[in-house]
Symmetry: C2
């Protein structure tokens, strides 16, 4: 049997194996179990098949103490998780009258009627404890077998999350009797993973209280410190975490932009909010994505005044005041146009800062001598501006994402240095 | 041993189990193997641990013919996949001089120097065939054991994808000697999953050539037909697929918006491109997301003229011409303001159509009597407009996403009915 606080996850769904959908359950559950002092030790993705579910589950009974199964509890013919779990445990399904009544009530309260297809949602392996689903039709269940507790939860993310919080977390919390593990995140941008390890590897290698992992992504690299579960002297945690922060700030300056979980847009946004300053944006190749990232953050209306996506030259002139002469002489993808876009956005909105992007997102070529990936990023303020020329590589999506992150970092760098 | 064309995937990464990153490999691989007549039968996510990788892998040797392992080939201390695979197969690691030279050349060509940390990337289980990684530092490898072929590929998505195409796909294609399976996708919006099955369940239940699955998502529900691998009479494929398309069109009209893989933004975009018509957008609560979705599509500059994110009232007036009186009398979240935004965007950009969104995204409340989720969506054209009032539920992200999809569908509905 594995450690008490190791959890295994079985995610059921043909659509995940066929690449029709990206799984979001594992990342939710991985984070949700940390404060319980537990961890996801392993995960499996299986097909919507009674045999497959049964095979994977039965292999884990008696091996791991806690198994979470998600998905396949709906009313459609491919929802076979109830049958798969029953087969895996060698049990029969039993019809549960109270659940069927609850499902019918759920539909009635919405002025609709439960269908015969919904009736199978009230069947559970014999001996299950039914877990009510307040706002969905699919109840979950919990069942013990061979020293293993199996929780089975519905697949829709909102339902999974609510039911995990209300049913599973309290049950696990009782069982895992230890303090939550500490996880510290250090977020960086614009420095490659191996360069980063060359620069701060010595500090990271000297840590005794934490395990280190690094997460390269298109937006940058995160360094994660996870408290060792064997740690006895917890006073080391602060000292070592501070040492990492200091080493990063010394080595890469403002490219270490966050100690915590906030996105670059959140960090920039909260700096603007604190300073009571505002921003206006002018986007060309990024097409609204910078605005989207900034307004993902609740309360963004306090500092985002406007975002003008000026895809056509006419819009650059009419909405941002870029001069027709500049466009004619230097082209839309140029330092000069980027400068006028950044100033134009700021001036028209009476904002403290203007951001601008213009470039060639691809996949096919831009104007002559302007290759795919060529991008100008601009930050404008009262009395000056900073324009950077970049040649990004990758797909259309990569290039656009890098342009968004790049210009947000330029603003952050400017704000930190003021 | 499982079927020849069943593939298992082992994805290595603590960050996935801790919820620090969402996996994208499985969805890529699931789609990438379909044309080869293969399928991903099962997937496992394991920790960056020699023991764990070894345990999961050794359990699959002799059980399944093809295993793909991804991730953990980098230069950092937590990159232990080479050691884990070697341990799982009971083999030693051997240093491979030619790969070390290639890694050094890779760095030299970029004006940098390979570090000692990179040296471990040239070690492979004895007997491996090394798979070159043209544009990254981490080579992959292929090794046979107990009738199972194990391919090990690096984790960065671009590298995984390139190496799958250049090394793995050709090898599998030789082995799986059958025609690609057909997969038909039918995309819908604005109809719940169980209502959809009530409406077209009879048609779907009568299919003999396909397996049916449905994918509910925040954007809508997709119905997928996957050719049964046992199918002998392939002439049924067209007939049955057409019958499903007909049933959907009859039951839900333009809410069945795509037979294929295109997103709603792509469908709308290609209709505009065909008609040589243009669009201008005015966003408030969606903050640039509609622009982002439309400009995700290559070639969007042919029909997207501009997108004005007018978060402040002043921007609504200055950039879109919404009258101060309207804002004063009805508020920013109102049918009247939405109407003026849609017309204003269209008029200023001289576009054929204007789109507008305004609403309360939350999570905290909007103006009095304007609850979180209240949204107005507008489409404007020469001579008229259509404004819809909606009360969306869910998170800030859900509400904003639904508003984006809702207004794109309104335009599609208008275009289809013209």
């Amino acid at each position: 049997m594995t450690q008490t606080n190791d959890i295994e996850v079985i995610i059921v769904g043909n659509e995940l194996l066929k690449g029709e959908r990206v799984d979001s359950h594992l990342s939710y559950l991985g984070r949700a179990v940390l404060p319980l002092g537990a961890r996801i030790a392993r995960a499996h993705v299986t097909a919507d098949s009674v045999d497959e579910i049964a095979r994977v589950l039965s292999g884990r009974i008696g091996e791991t103490r806690t198994v979470l199964v998600t998905g396949g509890l709906g009313p459609t013919p491919d929802d076979v998780t109830r049958r798969g779990v029953a087969a895996g445990l060698g049990l029969e399904l039993e019809f549960h009258e109270a659940s069927w009544n609850a499902i019918q009530d759920f539909f009635a309260s919405r002025g609709r009627q439960a269908t015969q297809a919904n009736r199978q949602q009230a069947e559970f392996p014999a001996g299950s404890r039914v877990l009510a689903n307040g706002e969905g039709t699919a109840p979950g269940f919990e069942i013990e077998s061979g020293g293993t507790t199996v929780f089975v939860l519905p697949g829709p993310p909102e339902e999974l999350r609510r039911m995990f919080s209300s049913h599973v977390a309290p049950a696990l919390s009782e069982r895992f009797d230890r303090d939550p593990l500490r996880v510290d995140t250090f977020r960086t941008i614009g420095v490659g993973e191996s360069t980063l390890f060359d620069l701060v590897g010595e500090t990271l290698g000297a840590l005794s209280a934490y395990d280190v992992s690094s997460l390269p992504s298109r937006g940058g690299v995160d360094i994660l410190l996870t408290e060792k579960s064997s740690l006895s002297d917890r006073s080391l945690l602060d000292t070592e975490s501070d040492a990492v922060a200091e080493a990063l700030a010394g080595a890469i300056g403002t490219k270490f932009y966050e100690r915590g979980e906030r996105s670059l847009a959140e960090v920039v946004g909260s700096m603007l909010a604190e300073r009571e300053e505002t921003i206006a944006i002018a986007e060309s190749l990024t097409g609204g994505w910078i605005g989207k990232l900034l307004t993902d953050v609740p309360g963004a209306s306090a500092y985002v005044l406007s975002d003008v996506v000026a895809y056509s030259n006419a819009a650059k002139t009419d909405l941002l005041g870029v001069s027709a002469e500049t466009l004619e002489k230097f082209g839309a993808v140029s330092e000069e146009t980027c400068t006028e876009m950044a100033h134009g956005a700021r001036n028209r909105a009476h904002a403290a800062f203007g951001l601008a992007t213009t470039g060639v997102a691809g996949p096919t070529g831009g104007p002559p001598k302007k290759p795919v990936g060529l991008t100008f990023l601009g930050v404008s303020w009262d009395g000056g501006c900073n324009i950077k020329r970049q040649l990004f590589t990758g797909t259309r999506d990569d290039i656009r994402r890098r342009a968004c992150q790049g210009v947000l970092w330029m603003l952050l760098d400017h704000l930190r240095k003021q």
